[in-house]
Symmetry: C2
Subunit: 281 residues, 2 copies
Amino acid sequence: MEIYGEISKVRAAVKAWKKEGLTVGFVPTMGYLHEGHKSLIDAARKENDRVVVSIFVNPMQFGPTEDLESYPRDLKKDAALCEAAGVDIIFHPEPEEMYADGFCSYVDMNGLTTELCGKSRPIHFRGVQTVVLKLFHIVTPDRAYFGQKDAQQLAVIRRMVKDLNVDTRIIGCPIIREADGLAKSSRNTYLNAEERQAALVLSRSLKAGKALVDAGETRACVIKSAITAEIEKEPLAKIDYVDVVDFDTITPVEKLEGSILVAIAVYIGKTRLIDNFIVEK
Amino acid sequence: MEIYGEISKVRAAVKAWKKEGLTVGFVPTMGYLHEGHKSLIDAARKENDRVVVSIFVNPMQFGPTEDLESYPRDLKKDAALCEAAGVDIIFHPEPEEMYADGFCSYVDMNGLTTELCGKSRPIHFRGVQTVVLKLFHIVTPDRAYFGQKDAQQLAVIRRMVKDLNVDTRIIGCPIIREADGLAKSSRNTYLNAEERQAALVLSRSLKAGKALVDAGETRACVIKSAITAEIEKEPLAKIDYVDVVDFDTITPVEKLEGSILVAIAVYIGKTRLIDNFIVEK
């Protein structure tokens, strides 16, 4: 496995692979890898000849009051996980390599980015789209893997790739959870013991919502109310949003029909956590 | 030569070429080809194994009051010119092929697009960047050719390609002029006989500005004044802008230093024409 900080080195390696007719799977990450990322790498490993993982805490997707500086980093541990998982290249650039002097371009969309996380993180998805497209141009993957935990991000990337004719297949992978139900996230490391316990309210509330869906409930407002009520029982939890949206367009729906995303964002203390489930109706 | 309307056909052809190790030159156009386009195609023909020309009047780069509907079109004549110039593929999609249902993504930049044409055409460069990036993703050219007549467009595309790590080399080609000095443009067809004569004020005024530069003048305001005065002599002409900017950043300069763009946009009757020259200091 190689660890490259330079765009030119990744490009050269990938071009050599492509010349041999090899396929490339790509897993873009911000590092501090956990079993969620591992599941993406495993999927990439299974379906491609070569696997590239990027580790880049992307300044452009953090708001001015967000956790860019404190976002957890551990390249040594990440490299060990990647090596063991059969990754061929880690791309780990410095911000200056990605955002050179005079950088001013961006990718964005009208729609999909205004609801859910877009409400409280107004510049987040612009930053995500821009860096992901840059990474796609550098790595030119046949397939790229994104976790369903960041469901809105997955929908946005799918839309961007379709709209801009990017020749990469986007693969969404299921949420990986701790044994007690908490969705794996690098940000879980921010939680103290009490908050860690309180954070279970996310998966528990979604379970309550899912139970209603399984019982035949199709009114979005009823499902939202049930989830909201469950979260409000937890004193350490503060709701950012509880929403039921069309998974393709990320617009609110009243009735469950088609591909539906039930998504929540909840502050546990100062830590903002997200979770969701998807219903195909 | 093939004429394709489908993205998938262009993609398949280019992939087959790339498999053979052939290089691809690309000339994106809105059709109604003239000697300016021809010079781009010739350059592409000389420097690449295969040449693709796109002909697409891109709705996204026209403002609501602009000339999208009346923009001149003549595919038959264009195809003959391309065939004679040794083009391998014309990509001529319908708008629906390029902008499918639910399309909402765009590429834009902070900077470079606010001055010059960006002032009177606020959404123009967003449309240009978006369609050019889409076309780059479809054609995956090694080199793409743009005329210097659209100097701001050339600067914007260069910046976009650099910022987003697009693996295509952007080649700027000199302005091609009629014998009497008028820069070739598909929009010249809008001019009646009297306007056609009046339109010579663009190249004549720039000549006056260039003469000052050649004589050692480095103050932007003096050059602007001389060009403005020359244009104002022509009763059919109405100035949109006369500007002296840094060619890389498209920001106004006071002194000529580095790579400088002297650019004008002038209405001749209802037809808006542009012209420019570049100074390397």
